[in-house]
Amino acid sequence: MLTTQFLLLGAVLFCIGVYGVLARKNAVMVLMSIELILNSVNINLLAFSVRHGSVDGNTFALYVIAIAAAEVGVGLAMVLLIYRNRRTIALDDLSEMKG
């Protein structure tokens, strides 16, 4: 078991998540991609927790999970609200700016 294994897995998941955030139009899909990013961070946290023999990584992984749950809840509520007002959840169509 090498340290790099876990860190590389985290990096790969992170980059896939980044791609998803950038490429997806549907707001729900963007939220899912963000979940990927958060999970990759958790893998890193736990790997370092083992590496340093400290329990802090576990603690913060739990905090990240809690934050992710809150984020999904609020995010989906916002998506619902947007859908109700506009009948679409495509992020491209949400812009009101004239850039």
Partner: protein, 173 residues
């Protein structure tokens, strides 16, 4: 030699799970059906829980299954159903300049991979798998309610605000 065998077994397990997770993650961001994407995400998240078990973090793994696979996925499916009339495949899930994401992701991955390999090389994370014990939950709770009590408070507050905010945002009036 048992230790080495166990190590091999763990490595094989890690390989299989990682492969599944990466395939799943790629499908999540490429598939043209929101429900399918959500199901692929379940695979990734369960794989992550398995990885946590390999890292001897049982409590986090259980929480991952409960919160993510249980609650968050249900939320996603509900969200999908509430916001979309039809469940079937859709062609335009990607935005116009989706191609921009590929170079950015590859650049990020390249930099991170280089840094990780350069920094940790062939360092062993777990020398002897027999030595690693699962972290007792008591230790975690001591950590949470000891030095990291303040973040815990802040987090509780965030959760409260999120619950109230979600209700306010989503209710009809």
């Amino acid at each position: 030699m048992i230790a080495t065998d166990l190590l091999v077994a763990q490595n094989v397990g890690f390989g299989i799970i990682s492969l599944l997770m990466i395939i799943g993650a790629v499908r999540v961001v490429t598939v043209n059906n929101v429900v399918h994407a959500a199901l692929w995400l379940v695979i990734v998240l369960s794989g992550a829980a398995a990885q946590y078990l390999l890292l001897s973090a049982e409590f986090v793994a259980i929480t991952q299954v409960l919160v993510y696979v249980g609650a968050v996925m249900v939320l996603f499916l509900f969200g999908t159903m509430l916001t979309r009339a039809r469940i079937g495949a859709e062609s335009d899930l990607n935005n116009k300049n989706w191609i921009l994401g590929i170079p950015v992701a590859i650049l990020t991955l390249g930099v991170m991979a280089y840094v990780i390999v350069d920094g940790f090389g062939s360092e062993r994370l777990i020398e002897n798998p027999g030595d690693t014990q699962p972290i007792p939950i008591q230790v975690i709770s001591d950590d949470i309610f000891g030095p990291y009590l303040l973040p815990f408070w802040a987090l509780s507050f965030v959760l409260l605000v999120a619950v109230i905010g979600a209700i306010v945002l989503a209710r009809k009036d």
